[in-house]
């Protein structure tokens, strides 16, 4: 009995030694990180202002759907993101190249360019091959996450903060110190 256990252990260790460690897969890593990010976003989105929230939500939903349609697509470079991105990027690149101090820049122009568009920091890229043990599971999780996200309702964490603070420090008319 004991011999059998020992042999089993020996065999297991032997196999471990013979097999090389699996090469860490960056795409796999990124995929799971993305999923986690979307989940966290859903639970903590109250911390964001409306515009920030909407921008991210739109971005996540769009990318999740495009990933679900084509899970093996190559990751697109966030820098080369077409459309609204380029406007902001070009403005910035041009300014930085000609060495203009951005302090002189008209902030309203910047806000117009950036509002409603994704900053270059939106890094949600769903792509890459899926070497998960059960690809169908992964697809299912993504699908459900995408659905939950679409249905998510936005409530700003600090919506009624003025009243709360006034109450706390006893300055609100109803509650006199």
């Amino acid at each position: 009995m004991l011999v059998m256990i020992l042999v089993g252990i020996l065999r297991h260790n032997g196999m471990q030694l013979l097999q090389s460690p699996p090469k860490p897969d960056i795409k796999q890593l990124r995929e799971s990180a993305c999923l986690l990010r979307v989940r966290t976003f859903r639970s903590l989105a109250g911390g964001l202002a409306k515009q920030a929230y909407e921008g991210r939500k739109e971005y996540f939903v769009k990318n999740m759907h495009s990933y679900l349609k084509n899970p093996n697509a190559e990751a697109t470079n966030p820098m080369a993101d077409p459309g609204q991105m380029e406007g902001t990027m070009e403005i910035f690149k041009a300014m930085l190249q000609s060495g203009i101090e951005t302090q002189d820049m008209d902030y309203s122009k910047l806000i117009l360019a950036a509002s409603g568009s994704m900053d270059m920091m939106q890094m949600q890229q769903m792509s890459g091959s899926n070497p998960m043990a059960q690809p169908s599971e992964a697809i299912k999780t993504f699908k459900s996450e995408a659905e939950f996200l679409e249905l998510h309702k936005y409530v700003f964490r600090f919506e009624d903060i003025e009243d709360l603070v006034l109450e706390k420090y006893g300055k609100k008319n109803k509650k006199m110190k």
């Binding site: 090469k23 990010r37 806000i111 003025e162 603070v165 420090y169 609100k172």
Partner: protein, 235 residues
């Protein structure tokens, strides 16, 4: 010039490697001092190779190499890092070292580029988000910096520092109404946060609101200004 003290030098280097030694010789800085390490390390390697164990020699060799990288040989460092990353794309510290090499060289643009692609995968890394936010601030890209700090609020929702930073940046881009809400969020839980109260005061002023909130903020600021902490700073 004092004679080179081998035992001393070894202790210093071991301290930097290990940081668990109870006392350090002479006056050592708590933070890592690459110039000192480089000096001591190079002397040991060149002259005292025979007097220390092979294991320690190797450790010191590695330490000295890193200190050389840290004191200016950035291009070579980057080449090394690239080699390393070819073998393993998921090596986070090497990615970060490479990025910081570009920052030390002053190539902020390239550093930003690399940091963006690093965060594409390692989006949980708060340190990286903070660094990117600061780099954007250096280049006056307030909207982008705001984005980074908002990511940090998503990652660390209870951290007041990031809430304050987001508030500051909303004010910087002119959105005082939103900034005020964030400042209020902070003072709700931190009653003595001068930064928060001043933020409320400033936003109210900008929005031309001089109601209860404005008065409350003003009175809190004046109270805190009399307090011991502030008095100590301005003594």
């Amino acid at each position: 010039m004092a004679k080179f003290n081998l035992a001393n030098a070894r202790q210093v280097l071991a301290h930097y490697r290990d940081e668990t030694l109870p006392e350090f010789p002479e006056k050592l800085t708590q933070t890592y001092d690459p110039v000192l390490v480089k000096e001591l390390g190079t002397t040991i390697i060149n002259q005292y190779q025979g007097s220390i164990s092979k294991l320690e020699y190797f450790a010191i060799y590695e330490q000295t190499l890193i200190s050389h990288i840290d004191t200016g040989r950035f291009q070579e460092a980057i080449r090394l890092y690239d080699e390393c990353l070819e073998q393993n794309q998921t090596n986070m510290p090497i990615h970060k070292r490479k990025i910081m090499a570009y920052v030390s060289m002053g190539d902020t643009q390239k550093a930003i580029e690399l940091l963006v692609s690093y965060l594409d995968t390692f989006m949980q890394d708060t340190e990286a988000w903070v660094t990117l936010g600061n780099l954007y601030l250096q280049t006056n890209a307030f909207q982008q910096a705001l984005f980074c700090y908002e990511e940090l609020v998503l990652l660390r929702p209870a951290a007041h520092l990031y809430l304050l930073k987001v508030a500051d940046l909303y004010c910087a881009v002119g959105k005082h109404e939103i900034g005020k809400k964030y400042y209020l969020g902070v003072v709700q839980s931190l009653a003595d946060c001068l930064h928060g109260w001043y933020g409320v005061y400033y936003c109210c002023k900008n929005l031309k609101q001089d109601g209860d909130l404005f008065d409350l903020a003003k009175s809190r600021i004046l109270e805190l200004a009399k307090g011991p902490t502030i008095q100590k700073v301005y003594k």
